[in-house]
């Protein structure tokens, strides 16, 4: 599906997630499935948790022991292919990159969207950050339902529906 449609299969998605037990702390999910010459995720990580190596075409590998889920790689990835995921008791917290108007605001409810662009539920906007360092890519922290762990990827304003 990736080559024809541009979205990964559910099996491919799962290969990028660590065991759910590890996700009790926030961890970067790097959805890079294709060898392209690119390495900002690796060079931007302050904890050296993402490795690409000499050949910048390599697929990034995340060391989940070192990853703190800080979210710097989320807005550093030119492909917007990284999220941070944390499994809470009753919800899942994601940090996602977002580059559209209107800006989401804390406390709002937006639509939760899957990799095919379908609305799959709701996302509560917990926090939105946009520092100069983020270079116009917002980091949006949201809460979604627990069954959306491998489904959720982005948000959409309800204005568009």
């Amino acid at each position: 599906m990736l080559n024809q449609k541009g979205y990964p299969s559910p099996e491919q998605v799962k290969t990028k997630f660590p065991d759910v037990k590890i996700l009790v702390k926030p961890k970067a999910i790097v959805e890079c499935y294709e060898k392209i010459p690119c390495n900002p995720c690796s060079t931007s990580c302050p904890f050296k948790a993402i490795t690409i190596g000499e050949d910048i075409n390599n697929i990034p590998i995340v060391d989940f022991d070192k990853c703190t889920g800080c979210g710097i790689c989320v807005y550093s990835c030119p492909g917007l292919a990284i999220t941070v995921c944390e499994v809470l008791d009753d919800k899942i917290r994601f940090k996602i990159p977002y580059e559209f108007l209107p800006f989401p605001k804390q406390g709002e409810i937006w639509s939760a969207v899957n990799r095919k662009g379908e609305v799959i539920g709701e996302a509560y906007i917990e926090k939105v950050t946009l520092t100069p360092r983020q270079d116009k890519t917002q980091l949006v922290q949201v809460l979604v339902d627990k069954d959306l762990l491998y489904e959720f990827v982005t948000i959409r304003s309800k204005v568009y529906e």
Partner: protein, 365 residues
């Protein structure tokens, strides 16, 4: 009156700017000519973050890379003379250029020339492809990202290479509805991360599909698409109509080699490199001594490679004129290594194949 200049660089896009910078660092005087009112070439329309490594400004947006490169060049006011709004009309033997500078016609005698003219967009033949509202991707980006004008409200993108995918995303950011991205090949041409960004927004990508015709009176009002079989033949009965007020064509680029051809530089048709390309030495010198080519003018690649090629051409052309950069050997080695890395993955396969063919031509003659 003929003006005498040492090194003339034609084109101030990523490659030409980098060439000028390296020449100035080498102590070489440069005349940098660009036909646009703003330097930076296509970079000034690129609002997305670039790929590559830090050495090629990865994760910086194209528009900000342009600012950096222009600042670099403006750091050498004594060495780099800039003519903007200046179109090179002709290149003649003995390295004479004719230039329309604003409203004035100028003749320049150069000692060496770097041609960094970039590329032109390929067109697509279909019924009514001349209706207003049918744009090339470059025009869409210029309207949207340079002048802040929406090209339409509802658009279909033809072509799923990186340009088609990136411009589709930018259209969505500008509030234009992209109804679909269609691609004649059976697979998506560009990076899948770009494709994934679009799917997330609900933009469908349809492979093995092309545009059959456009309909409309005074401007495009709808288009008919058709699916293609594995032999790239139309499959009857698969036509689909889309109501649109704009169509964006992003089906590839061809090197702009007109000036090189006029001068008599040897050109070869190599499809992997985008069409007719100049035969070059390792130093980016054409078959005419003292005339160099780099960036998309020499082969269609990403801007990251164009920048690195520009650095090399700037160094080698300056050396030819007797100005050797203090770190010449180290820099050349590093830049060649960068190009090798940028081209080493699966996406570099096409360019590697093309360059191997060009190498064959060079060794043969």
């Amino acid at each position: 009156m003929i003006l005498n200049r040492d090194l003339v660089i034609i084109g101030a896009g990523p490659s030409g700017l980098c060439a000028a910078k390296m020449a100035a660092e080498s102590g070489q005087k440069v005349l940098l000519i660009d036909r646009n009112p703003q330097l930076g070439g296509q970079l000034i329309k690129q609002t997305h973050m670039f790929f590559g490594s830090e050495k090629q400004y990865a994760k910086t947006r194209g528009i900000d890379i342009a600012k950096k490169l222009i600042d670099d060049v403006k750091n050498y006011p004594d060495l780099i003379e800039i003519w903007d709004n200046a179109t090179v009309l002709g290149l003649y033997p003995d390295k004479v250029l004719t230039v329309l500078l604003g409203e004035t016609y100028r003749k320049v005698q150069a000692q060496a020339i770097i041609v960094a003219t970039g590329a032109s967009e390929k067109v697509l033949a279909f019924e009514n492809n001349d209706l207003p509202g049918i744009y090339g991707a470059g025009a869409v980006q210029t309207l949207m990202n340079v002048y802040g004008v929406k090209p339409g409200e509802k658009i279909v993108m033809v072509g799923s290479g990186n340009i088609g995918l990136i411009v589709s995303y930018q259209l969505m950011q500008a509030g234009v509805k992209v109804l679909a991205v269609i691609e004649a090949a059976p697979v998506i041409g560009g990076y899948k991360v770009h494709a994934s960004k679009l799917q997330r927004l609900g933009v469908d990508i349809i492979t093995s599909c092309t545009i059959k015709k456009a309909l409309g009176q005074d401007k495009v009002e709808s288009i008919i698409t058709t699916r293609l079989n594995e032999k790239w033949e139309e499959i009857p009965g698969t036509e689909q109509e889309y109501d649109v007020d704009a169509v964006c064509i992003a089906v590839g680029l061809s090197p702009l080699t007109n000036l090189l051809a006029m001068l008599g530089c040897e050109l070869k048709y190599i499809s992997e490199l985008g069409g007719l390309v100049p035969v070059l030495t390792n130093d980016y010198e054409t078959t005419i001594e003292g005339v160099y080519a780099c960036g998309d003018a020499s082969s269609i690649e990403e801007a990251s490679s164009a920048m690195v090629e520009g650095y090399i051409a700037g160094l080698t052309a300056s050396k030819k004129l007797g100005k050797v950069h203090p770190d010449y050997d180290d820099l050349i080695l590093d830049f060649r290594k960068q190009l090798e890395v940028l081209r080493s993955g699966p996406f570099g396969e096409k360019i590697r194949k093309g360059l191997a063919k060009l190498e064959g031509v060079r060794v043969g003659c």
